[in-house]
């Protein structure tokens, strides 16, 4: 038996693979069934729901609350998503996060128009601002939750206990989201 050089075998093998691959690629379109014209958008490509998150902008030497858009992640209710994004987002050059650093959302319950927001102690302890800052911190949460028709009032809790004040404003009891600080309004 005549010995076949190893190099020839390799070349042959490569050629076979190349031919096979070529055939596979060239025949593929013909084999693929024609996609039917899409009658309706398919449910699987549902657009991610957007929520508004209010943050602080200083324009013309005046602080304002400005709405930004954020996504709802899987498993989140829209109010929870909005509040989480508000707490998580970092400052940009134009927009500041008015929530004190280190604040964590421990719980959010929406029932009979009342949103009970349970925040970690950092929300109170790390707040170091003036009265305007406090108005903006509280205003941002009220506005962010106030975009949902199911939220009419907000009750602030710090690790389960009622929050009284951050230093300037009386925050005990449910706070009305309908109030729009004329100082901070972006739509008035």
């Amino acid at each position: 038996m005549k010995k076949v050089p190893r190099a020839s075998i390799i070349i042959l093998l490569i050629a076979c693979v190349a031919l096979g691959a070529y055939l596979a690629i060239s025949r593929q379109p013909a084999e693929r069934p024609q996609p039917p014209p899409p009658p309706f958008p398919t449910p699987s490509v549902k657009a991610p729901k957007k929520v508004k998150v209010y943050r602080v902008a200083v324009e013309n030497n005046q602080p304002k609350l400005r709405a930004t858009e954020s996504d709802v992640r899987p498993g989140e209710s829209p109010p929870e998503a909005a509040l989480r994004r508000l707490i998580e987002q970092g400052d940009t050059s134009d927009l500041a996060n008015p929530i004190p650093k280190g604040t964590r959302l421990l719980g959010l319950k929406v029932e009979d128009g009342l949103a009970t927001v349970n925040l970690s102690r950092e929300f109170r302890d790390n707040f170091s601002g003036g009265s305007e800052a406090e108005g903006l911190t509280i205003g941002a949460i009220l506005r962010t939750l106030g975009q949902f028709p199911e939220v009419k009032r907000v009750l602030f809790l710090i690790e389960g206990k009622p929050l009284d004040t951050l230093g300037h404003l009386d925050l005990e009891g449910p706070q009305d989201v309908g109030w729009v600080g004329s100082e901070y309004g972006d739509d008035n």
Partner: protein
């Protein structure tokens, strides 16, 4: 040898570039107002140098190596109009500065240097004015703010910080109608004014952003005959032409449904002993905005969406508080009622449904009258102890420090006058184990000592890297005496502070229940105010708050304000009793004339007349300080 060379080189450098001192600092005015920069502009070698941040104000952008700053470094600049050029920066301290006056033409700005006041003013150029009967379009060389208003069927557009050429023929105006367009300027040339002489009052709507280089105002309701300059007889007033021209750009807000204007039918005044009552009869309730001015003392009510049913003559009253009343249609659909006061009064404004009138009651503010020396004043330095208040932008200063320092100056100044001045805290302590307890004990202190007046001293802050700057004063809700107190003190402080005037405000604008401390003290029947003496997160404000001279000057200004509240204007100029001719304003230090105009888009605006219009007293009501939001 190398050392010697280096030494000679440094010596030459030192000789060529003498160090820049604070005395070389100058002010930069853009957009009609002084702009605040972390590093102030300086005047060196016959040129004005401003930090790179100043480019923002004229809508320009720059590129440079900010890590390795060196003198003569090249900065690539793109103007708002897209013009690219480069310029060599000068290193002043560790800040790169640009010869802003020299590059003004490239930036699209007209520079105006005033050697005496040492103010460099940059104004935008008008690129074009066009009117086609349905839309007035104005383009400027960089984005500017502006205000629109009406005066006797004239549309007035005031462009802040815009240069108007001396001759109108120098302006590129495209007008395809017979309607006259006039231009002029006021505010010492800082504001450019465009007036459209329309044949009748029509609807107009601002379609552009509040700050833009492409201003567009749509005008509807003009018929071809109007545009041709013919005024037909028997015109139907409510006829509306279909909107012409482009649809509003990116209209995201729902259209505003406009209610028909209410009509002001009658105005009367009654004297009830020491109280004066002004009744404004109207066809229905309307929103209104109140404000006060000092020197001359006036209380102003602007009624929105209202028209005068007839002409009203000026009404002299001659009451001990109220000299007279003036009424005018100061915008197309806004009525202004000006009450000329003999001294600051406490105004209560209420809608009386039964009589269909707005009732303005003016009385002597609570605990006013007599001498300040006979009063008990409680001074409340905010925060203290383990509650530091807002943290300064230097990472060290705490709001509680300046609050206490200024309060101590104030106590000393008042005590020297013989006033019983008491402090809620004299040292660095918190007045309770919680913040609520702290607020309660401050209010309890004022009640326990039967305080006549309560003054809370605070510093302000806003989260984020960009801090506002300025002074604002709060009173609680609509409490009339506290409002008068806030205006008295604020107007004095703002004359000495040299910081932006963020006005007197109701604390309801800050939060729905107001400020905790003011709510508590006012509920004890004590007139109270809280002054925010600058933003600790702003370097200019913080430097002032730390400065003992500033602390002392502010304290003395507060004393003057308290004295005016109690004693009236006995020490200052009394205004003449003739409201027909508004007297010239007493000159104060505050008249630096470079402060940006107060402007709210949704509120009736203070409008000066077009430069060529005959004077009307109602339009010259002095500085307009928006006090409360519409109720």
């Amino acid at each position: 040898m190398r050392h010697t060379t280096a030494f000679i080189f440094l010596l030459v450098l030192a000789l060529v570039k003498p160090p820049v001192s604070a005395a070389d600092e100058v002010a930069l005015v853009v957009g009609g107002g002084k702009i605040f920069l972390h590093t102030p502009p300086v005047f060196v070698d016959g040129s004005v140098y401003a930090p790179l941040a100043a480019l923002d104000a004229v809508g320009a952008k720059c590129e440079t190596d900010s890590k390795h700053k060196r003198d003569g470094q090249k900065v690539k600049i793109t103007s708002a109009g897209g013009k690219k050029f480069s310029c060599r920066a000068r290193l002043v301290g560790d800040e790169l500065m640009l010869p802003i006056r020299d590059i003004a033409p490239e930036l699209g700005a007209v520079a105006d240097w005033d050697e005496v006041s040492r103010i460099l003013s940059l104004r935008a150029r008008i690129e074009s004015i066009a009117f086609d009967g349905s839309e007035l379009r104005v383009t400027t060389s960089y984005p500017v703010t502006y205000a629109d208003s009406w005066w006797n069927a004239k549309l007035i557009l005031d462009l802040h910080g815009v240069q108007m050429p001396a001759r109108q023929s120098d302006l590129p105006i495209e007008n395809s109608t017979a309607i006259a367009i006039r231009t002029g300027s006021h505010d010492n040339g800082e504001t450019g004014r465009i007036v459209l002489d329309l044949p009748k009052a029509v609807e107009h709507k601002v379609k552009s952003a509040r700050k833009t280089s492409k201003i567009a105002v749509s005008i509807s309701g003009l018929r071809p005959a109007d545009l041709a300059g013919v005024i037909p007889e028997g015109r139907v007033a409510d006829e509306k032409a279909p909107p012409v021209g482009q649809p509003p750009q990116a209209e995201t807000k729902p259209p505003v449904i406009e209610l028909p204007p209410v009509s002001v039918t009658d105005i009367g005044c009654r004297k009830h002993g020491r109280r004066a009552e002004v009744r404004v009869s109207m066809s229905g309730p309307a929103k209104y905005l109140t404000s006060m001015t000092r020197q001359p003392d006036r209380f102003v009510v602007d009624i929105a969406n209202a028209v005068l049913a007839r002409e009203f003559d000026d009404m002299p009253v001659g009451h001990e508080l109220l000299q007279g009343i003036r009424v005018g249609q100061f915008a197309e659909k806004a009525v202004r009622i000006v009450m000329d006061l003999t001294r600051i009064a406490a105004p209560d404004v209420e809608w009386d449904e039964a009589s269909g009138s707005l009732v303005i009651s003016l009385r002597l503010p609570k605990n006013a009258g007599g001498s300040l020396a006979d009063k008990i004043v409680v001074i409340d330095p905010g925060h203290g102890g383990k509650d530091p208040g807002a943290g300064g932008c230097d990472g060290q200063w705490q709001e509680k420090n300046s609050n206490l320092a200024i309060a101590l100056c104030l106590q000393k100044a008042l005590s020297d006058m013989g006033v019983c001045a008491l402090m809620t805290r004299k040292t660095d302590v918190r007045l309770g184990s919680t913040k609520t307890e702290d607020l309660n004990s401050r209010a309890a202190f004022a009640r326990r000592h039967s305080a006549d007046l309560f003054v809370s001293i605070h510093g302000n802050s806003v989260s984020g890297p960009r801090s506002p700057s300025g002074i604002e004063t709060y009173y609680h809700g609509r409490e009339a005496s506290s409002m008068a107190l806030a205006y008295c003190v604020h107007s004095e402080v703002i004359t000495v502070a040299d910081l932006p005037d963020l006005k007197v405000k109701s604390d309801f604008r800050l939060y729905q229940t107001g400020l905790g401390i003011l709510r508590r003290v006012v509920s004890c029947g004590i007139p109270a105010m809280l002054i925010e003496l600058g933003f600790v997160k702003h370097p200019v404000d913080l430097a002032k708050l730390k400065d003992p001279n500033f602390q002392q000057e502010v304290a003395e200004a507060v004393v003057r304000g308290l004295r005016t509240y109690v004693e009236g204007n006995s020490s200052s100029l009394r205004q003449s009793g003739n409201p027909e001719s508004p007297p010239s304003e007493p000159i104060t230090d505050a008249e630096s004339a470079v402060e940006p105009p107060a402007e709210t888009h949704d509120a009736p605006k203070q409008t000066d007349k077009p430069a060529t219009e005959p004077q009307k007293p109602t339009s010259t009501t002095g500085p307009h300080r928006p006090g409360e939001a519409y109720k």
